[in-house]
């Protein structure tokens, strides 16, 4: 069997794991469940690796590798295959998904070992991996949408994993509802794509976009229709990848177990939007307006979320806003037309953000559930390995030279700089956001691991290092966080038609840009050192001085409250006052009751037909039969 013939195994293996665990998990011992779950993903990783390596050996013309398995939907001229597609982009993605996913599965075995719903957790997690792989490997938009919805479902299930906790259940619902907004955009985009190109598979769509004469342009015009498609796609991407203004669900999603945050809300699912934009590069390249919107939203989200991250005190919330911010970077890279930079950042981010989340999980595990960094401090001594790996992650995300984040962030900023119209502005905002990032990450690091312990021994009995099943994945991810930057992803990805033509940034400018971003990163570090090590009183005084600014940041720009007031409250009020009291109680219930009364009334008359005697029933049948025959023979 060739390396590509087993392509279907990649998504199916986790599905098998999910099914077995979901159906029989209750009766299986925990080590079997864990082995099964991690093993299926691990196996899937190995197959992915083999396919990836085999793909590297192929000439460029041999790509993408397409496999159609069966016709999934056939309705009139509409046809959607269940087919998989492997090229550089999806190959990279499946490696990230299965690789990081595998490590997080391993980590979860230790982290979730005392949980009641152990099997349920792993079943969901495997199911998630299945849907994510479907999303990534799909060869058409519709199948991609299946994966898209599937990961949304798993995200909902996992965020609400502790469903008996109201906040967790609410967060799950919120994630679901907000995602629906984005999905709606995606659905509309698919419809418009089908209406325009009469196909939904990537190959046909992308080849037809080149030939403008083929598709009907009324009433929007060539550029108009493509821009609309791209904007609608981006609405979907923004929902899934937590871009402004649809980011609100992600910080709340931290209610789920920490490995879930690492896997879904940092490394894989949230990057689906970026992947989708990069996958649709051929469309975006013909819609510069939409591309610019992507860049602007991306960079705005980057700095916006980073600024909120500055003042958060929950260790996971900081990381959550950091994630939103980094996703903004990725969109900035894509929006600037250098999709490879965005995907590059996606990859490095997957490593170091998974690392940071898992590190945070390790801290929370060790602290017995405390998440507030104001109650931590000095954990360096108790959790040496967590500390070391966390440090690597921090350095990587802050963009300190030599680590993965440096290279990818540099690539993104360089892409922004090279943007034709507003390159300098985009770059400047991006750099400031990078400074913010550096600041809050070092703040987090210092408050957590340095200084004197601020927790009382009364609350926390025994701060301890996590078990090896949790530490080993941390170390592996740390290694990747260092070395991943040296892989020349942009160069590797460019053949996959991910590039717009642009003038390259000259090498001298490049060095300058790198220097600037490095300086800003170091500046962030210095500021954090000043605030939390050298002059610990300074933050409070600063907060008191700029009280208005501070409270805006602490309250996340009051966006949640705004949504509440504009969207949630009116809907709730309309539902309660109009729909419930008038439509439901009066009209629907009234109608149903009336029908019920009618039926009961007529039945009490007709029930005497039901005499219980078989022969009278036969009499009725004969009566009806004769009527029918008489009707036909009349």
């Amino acid at each position: 069997m060739g390396a590509f013939d087993s392509l279907w195994l990649i998504p199916i293996l986790p599905l098998i794991g999910a099914t077995v665990n979901g159906v029989f998990g209750k009766r299986l011992p925990k080590n079997v469940i864990g082995t099964l779950a991690a093993g299926s993903v691990g196996l899937s990783f190995l197959i992915s690796l083999r396919a990836f390596v085999a793909m590297l050996a192929l000439p460029q013309t041999g790509l993408p590798i397409l496999r159609d398995y069966f016709t999934w939907i056939q309705a009139g001229t509409f046809q959607a295959q269940f087919g998989l597609m492997l090229d550089q982009l999806s190959g990279l993605m499946i490696l990230i998904v299965t690789g990081v996913g595998f490590l997080i599965h391993i980590y979860s075995i230790g982290y979730m070992s005392h949980e009641e719903g152990f099997y349920r957790y792993f079943s969901y997690l495997n199911l998630f991996v299945f849907f994510m792989l479907t999303l990534v490997l799909a060869n058409n938009y519709l199948l991609m949408f299946v994966g898209w919805e599937g990961v949304g479902l798993c995200s909902y299930l996992l965020i609400g994993f502790w469903f008996s906790k109201k906040s967790a259940a609410d967060a799950g619902k919120k994630a679901f509802v907000v995602n629906r907004v984005g999905d709606f955009g995606f659905i509309l985009a698919i419809m418009l794509i089908y209406r325009t190109f009469e196909r939904v598979d990537f190959q046909s769509v992308f080849s037809r976009v080149e030939d403008v004469s083929l598709f009907p342009v009324e009433p929007l015009g060539t550029v108009g229709v493509l821009t609309t498609i791209c904007l609608l796609l981006f609405v979907g991407a923004a929902g899934k990848s937590a871009q402004f203004p649809l980011y609100v669900w992600l910080p709340d999603a931290m209610e789920g177990p920490t490995p879930v945050s690492a896997l879904i809300h940092a490394a894989t699912m949230v990057t689906a939007g970026v992947y989708m934009v990069a996958r649709s590069a051929a469309l975006y390249n013909h819609a510069p307006g939409a591309l610019f919107v992507v860049a602007v939203v991306g960079v705005f989200t980057a700095i916006y979320a980073a600024s909120i991250g500055l003042v958060q005190t929950d260790i996971k919330k900081v990381l959550a806003y950091s994630t939103v911010s980094q996703l903004g970077y990725m969109f900035l890279g894509c929006g600037a037309g250098v999709y490879a930079a965005g995907v590059f950042h996606l990859m490095t981010h997957a490593f170091f953000k998974a690392l940071l989340f898992l590190g945070a999980g390790s801290v929370i595990h060790g602290m017995g559930g405390i998440q507030d960094i104001r109650q931590m401090g000095g954990l360096r001594r108790h959790m040496p390995w967590t500390y070391r790996t966390f440090l690597v992650g921090t350095l990587a995300i802050a963009g300190i030279p030599g680590l993965a984040g440096f290279f990818s962030k540099d690539a993104v900023l360089e892409a922004a700089w090279s943007h034709a119209a507003y390159g300098k502005l985009l770059w400047a905002v991006g750099v400031i956001a990078a400074g913010f990032t550096s600041f809050y990450m070092f703040r987090l690091l210092i408050l957590t691991f340095y200084g004197a312990p601020r927790y009382s021994e009364h609350d926390v009995h025994h701060v301890h290092e996590s078990p090896s099943s949790m530490v080993v994945p941390l170390i592996i991810l740390a290694i990747f966080s260092i070395v991943a930057g040296y892989i020349d992803i942009p160069h590797f990805l460019t053949p996959a038609s991910l590039e717009t033509e642009r003038e390259a940034v000259s090498s001298s400018t490049g060095i300058l840009l790198t220097a600037a971003s490095t300086t800003v990163a170091l500046l962030g570090f210095a500021l954090a050192y000043l605030f939390y090590v050298a002059r610990p009183g300074l933050p409070d005084r600063l907060a008191a001085r700029a009280h208005a600014m501070y409270s805006i940041l602490v309250n996340k720009y009051y966006v949640d409250e705004l949504y509440d007031a504009i969207i949630v409250w009116p809907i709730v009020q309309t539902s309660r006052e109009l729909l419930w009291k008038v439509v439901d109680t009066l009209m629907i219930d009234g109608a149903v009751n009336a029908v019920g009364r009618l039926v009961r009334g007529s039945a009490s008359g007709l029930k005497h037909m039901q005499s219980g005697y078989v022969r009278t029933y036969a009499g009725w049948i004969l009566f009806g039969g004769v009527l029918v025959v008489a009707w036909f023979l009349r």
Binding site: R615, T616, G619, L622, F623, G625, V626, V629, A630, L633
Partner: protein, 163 residues
Amino acid sequence: MIQILFFFFAAIAVGAALNVLVQKHVLYSALSLILMLTAVSVLFILLQADFLAVINVIVYAGAIMVLFVFVIMLLNLPEDEDGADRLRWLKFIGIPLGLFFLVLVVTTLWNLEANPGTQPQLVGSPAAIGQSLFTDFVLPFEVTSLLILIALMGAVVFAKRDL
């Protein structure tokens, strides 16, 4: 000649069927029914359906009616049906209705002026039936096996006391 045969066996069939209703003891009814379906089988032969005629005897007379006779002999019923018929009015509705139906059908068929004779070319040989049954009717055939399976289980469940 063939008309004589037709009327002879048709008369036997009708007479036997009527006898099923007339007989007081149900065992005699069952035996009369066997006679009726044997006559129907002969009519099948007149209709060139040899295979079905034989199958009809094997399945009906050889198996289904054996089952009936067994049950009748096992339960050993009293001859008369006990009690007055509380649903006697049913006869007064059912019989006229049935006769009306019969009149309807017969008049329709009788008035069918262009009433073509049966065509002799089709022969219901086992091979022809098998060919059709196992190619065009594969699905019903397989579903049949499920029907038999369910009937088997149902009958065992109902009949066996100590399950």
